[in-house]
């Protein structure tokens, strides 16, 4: 006897993850054909640029069709799967009932008899450091996780292999080859870097700058040198707009606004370059705040695709390890990238006397297709002038 099919099919489509995203890649199916899925339950994982996201089912029912395979890239709005809603009878009578086949227990946050609750400060610290609170041993009343419990974990981590929060260059050496294949984000970084070197006529120019005034100002403001150098760079870009530009084939676009990319390390997981949009409107204090916030969100995996798009110039800042020079790779389709390395006290000649000054070497990789060495040198000199006369 065949049941009457009152089935209604609901489409699962590639979602719009931010206004500027047009396509996405299917990373993993969490459900197969015949599996039961609840409304809002995760059905698959997708990736847009470097941002991974789970896709939730729009309806309860049974997966009747999967149309997009793993690693396939499709446009936003493309139907990836179809769900047969309740009342549907997708399986022939001879097969076992598939709906009852997956009674896996729902994930439980706590392992005790009642759910654990966390105070605001504990949740915030855990989110900032990517700590799984269900695995933290609590020393408070009734095993409650207290601030000091999660701080102790952060402290342990800091002493070990987890690097502290910092801004760092995209161009660290490749990690030593481990068995297995590269992670997806590493593959994407690799493709971007290689494409840049294949596309641009990359040259690097360096200039030395006296950071006395920057050091004094940043101590006073309680920020790092990066936002002050960024502000000087933005002003220099306004003076030399030809570096605040995109070169795509023969199309050369000079931008009015400065959307400043800042390279942020994600530790083992690679790096990402979130963008401070309209950076020309921000003072160093504001830049510091935005950079900190973007870095935090990057590490908490909270960036949206729009956060990493639209950059017109990039700064990389790997100086906290003491390195003094690098040849950064241009972030395509931009035409230049500035490298801020360590600030080191050195003996320098000032007015024919030897003085001790905090010095740094500012490096600029630039695309010889878009500009010539004289402009690059003038641009670096403009940054240097602003840095040395900062007040």
């Amino acid at each position: 006897m065949s049941s009457s099919r009152t089935e209604t099919l609901v489409d699962v489509v590639m979602p719009q993850m931010g206004v500027s995203v047009s396509e996405g890649t299917l990373v993993e199916w969490k459900k197969g054909v015949g599996d039961h899925v609840e409304r809002d339950e995760v059905i698959c994982a997708i990736s847009t640029d470097k941002i991974d996201t789970d896709v939730e089912s729009p309806a309860s029912g049974t997966v009747v069709e999967i149309l997009v395979g793993v690693d396939e890239t499709v446009d936003v709005g493309t139907v990836m799967a179809r769900i047969g809603t309740e009342g549907a009878a997708p399986a022939p009578p001879s097969e076992p009932e598939p709906v009852a086949a997956a009674p896996s227990a729902p994930p439980d946050a706590g392992n005790g008899d009642r759910p654990r609750r966390y105070s605001p400060v504990v949740q915030r610290i855990a989110a900032e450091h990517g700590i799984d609170l269900s695995r933290v041993r609590g020393t408070g009343r009734g095993g409650r996780v207290r601030k000091q419990d999660v701080l102790a974990l952060v402290q342990d981590g800091a002493d070990g292999d987890e690097p502290p929060l910092h801004i760092e260059s995209p161009y660290r050496p490749e990690p030593s080859p481990a068995a297995g294949t590269l992670s997806r984000i590493r593959r994407q970084i690799g493709e971007h870097m290689k494409r840049s070197l294949d596309t641009a006529a990359t040259c690097t120019t360096w200039i030395e700058a006296d950071m006395s005034r920057v050091e004094e100002a940043r101590t006073r403001l309680g920020i790092t040198a990066l936002p002050i150098v960024a502000r000087c760079t933005i002003d220099a870009l306004r003076e030399f707009p030809s570096l605040n530009a995109w070169l795509e084939g023969d199309a050369y676009t000079v931008h009015d606004a400065v959307h400043l990319g800042i390279a942020v390390s994600l530790g083992e997981d690679g790096l990402i370059v979130p963008v401070v949009h309209d950076a020309q409107d921000l003072a160093p204090e504001g830049l510091a705040k935005r950079i900190r916030e973007l870095a935090r969100r990057a590490r908490a995996r909270e960036l949206t695709p729009d956060d990493v798009r639209g950059g017109t110039f990039t700064i990389t800042n790997p100086g906290q390890y003491g390195s003094i020079m690098a040849t950064p790779v241009i972030n395509q389709p931009q035409v230049a990238i500035l490298d801020l390395e360590a600030i080191v006290k050195r003996a320098v000649v000032v007015d024919d006397a030897i003085a001790i000054r905090p010095m740094t070497i500012l490096g600029l990789s630039w695309d010889h297709r878009a500009l010539d060495g004289a402009v690059a040198a003038q641009f670096l000199a403009a940054i240097k002038r602003r840095v040395e006369s900062w007040s």
Binding site: P120, V121, G140, R141
Partner: protein, 321 residues
């Protein structure tokens, strides 16, 4: 620098500012010939004369009303309420006239009202109250409450120089119990909070006499690192100092001697709930006097006022949370 009691520091501040500025004069009940109920103005009439140290009738409304007029025409009156409890008789002049004159007419009312407040000495229900919060609620009035001799002098001179009406709450229980080094001459203490004790595990936020209760409680807390924040000024309230303590410690005991409902500490707790939520690692705990009149009976009075033991117990509970 010389060592003074809290009361001597108040006298010294009044005297030095009267010497420095002849617009400053005093009004109050029995402050002239008798030298004041607590002898704060003892000898003042000999130095400054009855024109600047005026004995008034028992009429708080008249004292404050006269001061407002004198302030508007450019003088710097300092009124003494014999006990802060009596200010309810001057409430209308203070809340409706002094506090709103600048808003309505653009005129400054640079008056200072001294208010001997607080209990702990068997004074009973009419001589022991802490009515700070009545005036925190009324726009246009500033409210300060020192806990040390140095701050008592500096805040009093700051109050006299402030172009707004300032209520200066001086705690009677501290008058002769608290001593400290006090700079000579005139100086002002900013209307901002002060860290009375540095610490990271828990913050006790208090003002006036309760700062000393908090410091004593913090001495014996099993090695915990307790921070004590002395608010000094209730209006304006130093919100950044409060939130900074929350950020550092994540656990807060708010302590005041006033009756619990809508006290200064309630405002502090509300501020923390609104703007310090993300930094909290436990409930905001309040220690205060229950909503009852202060009893005459010394044992009963000790039972209702926040004691060192009660504060310590509250800290222990919160530390263990």
């Amino acid at each position: 620098m010389s060592t003074m009691t809290y009361l001597q520091a108040i006298s010294d501040g009044l005297r030095e500012e009267m010497r420095a500025d002849d617009r400053v004069f005093l009004m109050g009940e029995d402050i002239g010939v008798f030298g004041g109920a607590f002898k704060v103005t003892d000898g003042f009439i000999d130095e400054f004369g009855a024109d600047r140290v005026m004995d008034t009738p028992l009429a708080e409304s008249a004292i404050i009303g006269t001061a407002i007029g004198a302030g508007v025409v450019g003088l710097r009156p300092v009124c003494e309420m014999q006990f802060s409890d009596f200010i309810s008789c001057g409430f209308d002049q203070l809340v409706n006239v002094a506090g709103k004159t600048h808003y309505r007419f653009g005129l400054n009312v640079p008056i200072t009202v001294r208010l001997p407040s607080g209990g702990g000495f068997g004074g009973g229900p009419f001589h022991s109250q802490n009515p700070e919060a009545w005036f925190m609620h009324a726009p246009g009035l500033k409210v300060v409450a020192p806990s040390t001799a140095e701050d008592a002098k500096g805040l009093l001179i700051g109050a006299i120089r402030d172009p707004n009406p300032v209520l200066f709450f001086e705690h009677k229980h501290l008058y002769r119990r608290v001593k400290g080094e006090v700079p000579g001459g005139t100086y002002t203490t900013p209307f901002r909070a002060r860290v009375a004790l540095e610490g990271d595990d828990l913050a006790v936020i208090a003002y006036g006499a309760m700062v000393h209760t908090a410091l004593e409680a913090a001495e014996d807390l099993d090695g915990a690192s307790v921070r004590v924040l002395d608010l000094r000024s209730l209006v304006p309230l130093d919100e950044e100092a409060i939130l900074d303590s929350v950020r550092r410690c994540s656990k807060v005991v708010v302590l005041d001697e006033a009756n619990a409902t809508c006290a200064a500490g309630a405002q502090v707790a509300a501020l923390i709930a609104e703007r310090g939520f993300e930094d909290l690692d436990g409930p905001v705990v309040r220690v205060s006097t229950p909503d009852v009149p202060i009893p005459f009976s010394p044992p009963l009075e000790q039972a209702v006022l926040p004691s060192v033991d009660r504060v310590r117990e509250a800290c222990r509970e919160l530390l263990a949370y």
